[in-house]
C-alpha cells in the first residue's frame, strides 16, 4: 500500500525548507493557517508571515505590493476563498501586472468532505485558467506538491497551485524530474489514454490496472500543469491511442477536460470521455462516499475508457 499524505501537508513542509534558503519568501494567510499548514512557516519565520485576518481580497493585493518590492509572496486560504472571493483582484492586480505572486490554495474538490458544498471548490481551475498570464497547477501527491512549490519559486510570474485536504496515496517518486508545463506519462498503452490531474491520477492508475485485466492497455498521463497545457505530449499521445478519458475533481465546464478538448479539437480531434462533476454542487459526506456519488472512482474511469474506445472510428 502506498503511503497516504495530504498535499497540503507537503506544502507546509516545503515552505519551511524554502524559508531557510530564500529570504525573499513571505507567506500570507487569512485565518486558516493551521488548515493550509502555513502556520508552520509562521512559527519559524514570524517576521515573514502575515496573518491578514478573514479578508482575502486585501490579502491578495497586499501580496501584490510585496511582489513589486522583490518579495516572493505565497498566499494561502481555501480554494473557494483564494480564487472565488478574490478573482477580480487576482485578475486586475496580479495577472494584468504579471506579478510574482504564488496562490497556493488547499481544500479543493469534493474530497474536502464533511464541510459540504460551501467549502468544496470545484470551479477554481476554470476561474484561474481563463486569466491571461496565469499558470495553473494541480499536483497529484505529496511528493509532486513539494516539487511544484520549489518550481514555483524559480518561475517568475503568477501561479495558482491547487491542493487538497484529504490524504492521498504517494504515487510519484522523489527522483523523477518535474517541469512546469511538461506532462508526466506514468504508463504506456496503445488502446486508450487517461489524462488526469490531482487525486484523480491515482484513481486513473487503478483504472488502468482494471482495464489491463480485461486486455485493454491504457496510457496514463499526469497533467499536473493545466495551464499552459502540454499540447505537444497531448497530441503525441492522442495520435498513438485515438481515444481519451480526462479525469478531474472539478466541474466539467472549464476544467482539465475542457482544456484538453479545446486543444485537441483544433489539432487532432478524437473521441474524449470526461470524468468530473457535471453541473452539480458538492455536499457533506466522507471523501470516499462523495467520490462514488460524483462518479470519480477507478471503475467510473475504466467504464469511460471503454466507452471512448467504442467511439473510435473504424
Amino acid at each position: 500500500m502506498a503511503e497516504m499524505i495530504a498535499t497540503r501537508q507537503a506544502y507546509g513542509e516545503a515552505l519551511l525548507e524554502l524559508g531557510e534558503k530564500n529570504k525573499n519568501i513571505v507567506v500570507l494567510d487569512a485565518d486558516l493557517s493551521k488548515s493550509t499548514t502555513t502556520a508552520k512557516f509562521g512559527k519559524k519565520y514570524p517576521d515573514r508571515f502575515f496573518n491578514m485576518g478573514v479578508a482575502e481580497a486585501n490579502m491578495v493585493n497586499t501580496a501584490a505590493g510585496l511582489a513589486t518590492c522583490g518579495k516572493i509572496p505565497f498566499v494561502s486560504s481555501f480554494s473557494i476563498f483564494a480564487t472565488g472571493r478574490t478573482w477580480e483582484q487576482v485578475r486586475n492586480t496580479i495577472c494584468y501586472s504579471g506579478l510574482n505572486v504564488k496562490i497556493v490554495a488547499t481544500h479543493s474538490g469534493v474530497s474536502v468532505g464533511p464541510d459540504g458544498a460551501s467549502h468544496q471548490c470545484i470551479e477554481d481551475i476554470s476561474l484561474m485558467r481563463t486569466i491571461p498570464n496565469m499558470t495553473v497547477i494541480e499536483p497529484c501527491d505529496a511528493v509532486e506538491t513539494k516539487k511544484s512549490i520549489l518550481a514555483a519559486v524559480d518561475y517568475k510570474g503568477p501561479i495558482y497551485i491547487r491542493l487538497g485536504r484529504a490524504a492521498v496515496p504517494v504515487i510519484t517518486n522523489k527522483a523523477a524530474p518535474y517541469t512546469i508545463g511538461k506532462a508526466d506519462i506514468l504508463r504506456m498503452g496503445e488502446d486508450v489514454a487517461i489524462v488526469a490531474c490531482g487525486a484523480l491520477v491515482a484513481n486513473s492508475l487503478m483504472a488502468a490496472d482494471t482495464l489491463l485485466k480485461e486486455g485493454i492497455k491504457a496510457t496514463v498521463v499526469n497533467m499536473h500543469t493545466i495551464k499552459p497545457l502540454d499540447q505537444e505530449t497531448l497530441v503525441k499521445v492522442a495520435m498513438q491511442v485515438n481515444a481519451m478519458v480526462t479525469a478531474e475533481q472539478h466541474v466539467l465546464d472549464g476544467g482539465l477536460g475542457s482544456a484538453v478538448a479545446t486543444s485537441l479539437a483544433r489539432v487532432y480531434p478524437i473521441p474524449i470521455e470526461m470524468i468530473g462533476i457535471d453541473n452539480r454542487f458538492g455536499q457533506s459526506g466522507e471523501p470516499d462516499t462523495l467520490f462514488k456519488e460524483y462518479h470519480l472512482m477507478p471503475e467510473d474511469i475504466a467504464l469511460a475508457a471503454k466507452k471512448a474506445i467504442t467511439r473510435k472510428k473504424k
Binding site: 501580496a63 511582489a67 513589486t68 486586475n92
Partner: protein, 275 residues
C-alpha cells in the same frame, strides 16, 4: 532625485495650471476620459511630485524611491501629465492617451507607462497594494514612504476597510493615504448615493492618524505631508476637501463631468480659463 528643487507656492500654482491644460487637451483629443476626477487631484499631486516624493525619473525602478499609487485610477490623465512634465517619458506621448498602441492606457498600466507603480482601474485595490509595499519596506529596513490616493466614492468598497484594519494592525506608519474628497461619484453626490459620513471618525476608529485639509491649498497640503512623515506606529490619512472639476468653471461640482470628454469648443473655453 527631483526633490532637490523644491518649488515655492507660486511656482506650484503655475505648474498646476500647466497640468490642468494638459488634462483638458489630452481628454479632448482622446474623446473620452474623466476630467472632473482628474482636475480635483491636481494640487495634491503637484505638491507631492514636485516637493515631497523622493524619486528619479531617469531611474523609475530605483529601489529606495517613495511610491505613489493612484488607486482612483480613472484620474490617470493628471498623473500622466505630471510624469511627462517630470521627464518620465516625452511630453508628445500625452497626445496618444487612450489610443491603440499607446503607452498611456485608459487606466494605469505598470507594464507600459514608466513611473506607474501598479496597474489600476478597478476601485478599492490600491490601499492593499500600498500596505504590501509598506510591509516590504519594513522587512528590508528601508525608509521609503508609500502614498495612496483614494476617491471618496471608492472608499465605499469593503476592501478599503480590510486594508485600513490591516494597515493599522501592522503599524504601517510609512503608509499615507490621501483622500480626494470631492463629494461626488458617478451617479451623484456621495451623500445621496451612500451615507458614508463621518469619514474622519471612521478612519480614527480604524486606528489611523487623520488630518483634514483643503486639498487645493499648497501650504496645508505640504504641512500635511510633512506631519504624516512624523507619525509613528500607525498609518496616516489626509482627508482633503476638493472640488471635482476644479479650475474649469463649467465643470466644477458637476456630476456630468465625471467621465465625459470636452468637445473642441468646450476645451477651448476651458483652456481660456486656465491661461
Amino acid at each position: 532625485m527631483k526633490i532637490a528643487q523644491r518649488l515655492d507656492n507660486k511656482s506650484l500654482a503655475e505648474r498646476s495650471k500647466v497640468i490642468r491644460r494638459h488634462i483638458i487637451r489630452m481628454l479632448a483629443r482622446a474623446g473620452s476620459g474623466h476630467p472632473g476626477s482628474s482636475l480635483s487631484t491636481v494640487e495634491l499631486l503637484v505638491a507631492l511630485y514636485y516637493n515631497k516624493l523622493r524619486h528619479n525619473p531617469q531611474l523609475p525602478a530605483w529601489p529606495d524611491r517613495d511610491r505613489f499609487i493612484l488607486s482612483k485610477g480613472h484620474a490617470c490623465p493628471a498623473l500622466y501629465a505630471i510624469l511627462a512634465e517630470l521627464d518620465y517619458f516625452p511630453l508628445e506621448k500625452l497626445d496618444t492617451l487612450r489610443q491603440f498602441g499607446s503607452i498611456l492606457q485608459g487606466h494605469p498600466c505598470m507594464k507600459t507607462t514608466p513611473g506607474i507603480e501598479i496597474s489600476g482601474g478597478s476601485l478599492g485595490q490600491g490601499l492593499s497594494v500600498g500596505l504590501g509595499i509598506a510591509l516590504a519596506a519594513k522587512l528590508d529596513k528601508k525608509n521609503y514612504r508609500t502614498y495612496v490616493m483614494l476617491g471618496d466614492g471608492e472608499i465605499e468598497e469593503g476592501q478599503i476597510w480590510e486594508a485600513a484594519m490591516a494597515a493599522s494592525h501592522y503599524k504601517a506608519d510609512s503608509l499615507c493615504a490621501i483622500l480626494d474628497q470631492n463629494g461626488l461619484q458617478i451617479d451623484g453626490f456621495i451623500h445621496e448615493i451612500m451615507s458614508s459620513h463621518p469619514i474622519p471618525d471612521k478612519w480614527r476608529g480604524f486606528g489611523w492618524h487623520v488630518m483634514e485639509i483643503d486639498g487645493h491649498d499648497f501650504k496645508a497640503i505640504l504641512n500635511a505631508y510633512d506631519e504624516a512623515e512624523k507619525v509613528k506606529g500607525r498609518p496616516t490619512i489626509i482627508v482633503a476637501k476638493t472640488v471635482k472639476g476644479k479650475g474649469v468653471s463649467f465643470m466644477e461640482n458637476q456630476v456630468d463631468w465625471h467621465g465625459k470628454a470636452p468637445s473642441k469648443e468646450e476645451a477651448e473655453r476651458a483652456l481660456a480659463e486656465l491661461k
